[in-house]
Amino acid sequence: MASAPSIPDVRAPSTSHRPRRPVRLSAYQRYAIQRVLLLPAQILLVLLILYLALYVPSSVALGEDQGLLGFWTGFYQLVVNDFTGNWGISVQYGGVTIAQLYAWAIPQSIELAVISLGLAAAIAYPVSLLAGWGRRAPIDATVRAASLFGTYFPVILVGGAVTGALFYWFLHTYHDIPIGILPNSFWWLDQGYTLPPSWVIFGQAYTSPTGFPLVDGALHGAWSFEEIVLIKTLIQAGIIAIVYVSIFLRHSFTIVRDARDELYVTAARSRGIRDRTILWRHTARRVRPTLLLVFALTLPAYLGTQFVVEAVFQDYGLGTLVFLTLTGQIPPRQTLAPILESWQVMMFLLALAVLVWLLAVDLLARRLDPRPVSRA
């Protein structure tokens, strides 16, 4: 039987030249690329500001005139040190590297931030929508007053008052004091431990292996430890959430109020759609990206609030570490300007975190925005 003539595979790529289709990026992709490319420039500017502000004046004061080459060499060294984690050694903390201190402190603060931001979002989102939507003067006045009060009332007093109010209740109920995130040494004694277990490290300040106390407690099956850490975290998260929500409301309230007056709301009302439906199904979607941007805008205020609460409760998180650094209590090495060196690292890390967060929020807000994007 003669074999059938072979049929050319039409799916195979043709050898002839086909015109290449130009890669067409969507408006969102173009925006994302532009925004990501901006990040390195912003980080370099932050480093340059810190170098100019912290190092140059001290070297001028010390008479170290190194010329232009010395200036740029010093800046290059700063960039290399910051990105390689060469941040010095803390003399006060028994020779522990500063990178290690941050590695221990950051998970504890992240855990607190996740819980407090969750609480804040659960309060702020519905309150913003309801307060901005209502047209009654008492609601307007109440929200304005609450936001002003929360903005100006010092967090140290809120923290101090709550600690004082809960102190004896906490002591009698849990046989511990509401200071710190982890249980204190007498709680461990009360639980029958002469010494805390080996996964509670560095003078009972941190946990291992992940550094997140709730996760580590669960991994080791220490459920009474979990309970007390959760209660302490919730107390601190509650204070942070209440203070931060009042700062957030000052912005979010007016955004919802402006959205209330848009044409589509009038059109929807004229078609007989109920106010509740317009608010929760349409306006809520419309203002969600803007509220996210407000969160990004107020992130430094949030950080300040959390850091002070951590300092008031004497946690071993990032907040206490930041204040110890700013008051010169963890000098990295015995240099002429030891404080400035650790300040520079701390500010660099904060700026890096905020810039990356701003990038993520910008991209998310753009993605969530239901309005059509202009292709101009």
């Binding site: 500001i49 002003l148 100006y152 010092p154 004497q314 110890l324 008051t327 400035l340 904060l350 700026a351």
Partner: protein, 348 residues
């Protein structure tokens, strides 16, 4: 034909309708009770400041310290509010609180006004320029610098830069340097909100018409965009008061008694002796400033805040400095809110 005798005399015809009286003008465009309450508060602070300048001259920058009041209980009697000391006594600093708060009023008003002035001028001007040139090089540059500066919490950045500059600046210009620096650092938030407003104003039909008629960019900026974006400035100014007092309260508090800071100030006598944190903008400890009073007052009056599990609460030590600070902040916020509402009503 019109009889000339019936026409009124040219001098009797007014050029414009008669100007209504003040009461009528207020009734037409009421500023609201909040504005007037805020204005009364601010005028009260201003009068207090002027009276302090007169009464305490020439020792305005030194608090009269009484060493007998310095150690807290049980080392010395705690003096609460009385006819001799209406706001009580603040141990640690060893001062009468009523006199101290009064004496500090011109200093704190000067600090807040100076910082807000720099912040407002920079933020308003740069934000308006950026908004008017949306998408242009100037807009990109201002937004880039502003966003980057705004990424570092302003209260930490100002302390850091102030410390760096204090190496080269003369010691006696610490406070003015702090004021200028703070104003120069917190402008990005003001510029951001002003830019958004200016962007909208620059697209309004009457601004387009001015541009079409050949109005210069400078004229459009000065006559239309800057006045049109003032409402955003008024919304932001009250928010910028908070970080100022954050720096003035939290750093001395942490240094004196917060967390392990207390270790550094524990004296051999068994009680805390306050001191200034490194690179403080205040020239010396007995300088009259509300934030420092509140920080020391919280340390001594609310012992739990300094990690001391037992202790008596002495409310007056932190209440009166707190009222002084919050009163000023509320006054500024109420006046700005009132003006903002008035402008919004005029725009409609």
């Amino acid at each position: 034909m019109i009889d000339e005798q019936e026409l009124p005399d040219a001098e009797e015809v007014p050029d414009r309708p008669p100007r209504p009286g003040l009461r009528e003008r207020l009734a037409r465009r009421p500023l609201g009770a909040g504005f007037w309450l805020g204005a009364v508060i601010l005028v009260g602070y201003f009068v207090t400041a002027v009276s302090a300048l007169v009464v305490f001259h020439p020792d305005l920058e030194f608090l009269p310290v009484n060493p007998a009041w310095m150690p807290p209980a049980p080392f010395a009697p705690v003096l609460g509010p009385s006819s001799a000391h209406p706001f009580g006594v603040l141990p640690g600093l060893g001062v009468d609180l009523f006199r101290s708060i009064w004496q500090a009023t011109p200093w704190d008003l000067g600090i807040v006004a100076g910082i807000l002035l720099f912040d407002a001028v920079l933020g308003w001007f740069l934000g308006s320029i950026a908004g008017m040139n949306e998408g242009g090089i100037l807009d990109g540059l201002i937004s880039w610098i502003g966003d980057t500066l705004g990424a570092i919490p302003s209260f930490f950045l100002v302390v850091g830069i102030f410390a760096g500059l204090s190496f080269v600046a003369p010691t006696d210009i610490g406070l003015p340097l702090f004021i200028v620096l703070f104003g120069a650092i917190i402008w990005p938030a003001t510029a951001r909100v002003t830019r958004d407003r200016a962007r909208l104003v620059a697209r309004l039909p009457y601004v387009e018409a001015t541009r079409a008629c050949g109005g210069s960019r400078r004229r459009i900026l000065v006559r239309h965009v800057l006045p049109g974006s003032v409402s955003a400035l008024l919304a932001q100014i009250p928010l910028d008061v908070a970080p100022i007092f954050f720096v003035l309260i939290v750093f001395p508090w942490f240094w004196d008694c917060g967390s392990s800071g207390a270790k550094n100030t524990t004296s051999g006598a068994g009680y805390l002796l306050p001191s200034l944190p490194p690179f403080s903008p205040l020239p010396w400890l007995d300088f009259p400033e509300w934030g420092n009073f509140l920080a020391v007052g919280v340390c001594y009056g609310l012992p739990i805040s300094s990690g001391l599990v037992q202790g008596t609460i002495y409310w007056w030590m932190f209440l009166f400095p707190l009222v002084a600070i919050m009163g000023l902040a509320f006054g500024i916020a109420l006046v700005c809110d009132g003006l903002d509402r008035r402008l919004a009503r005029l725009r409609r």
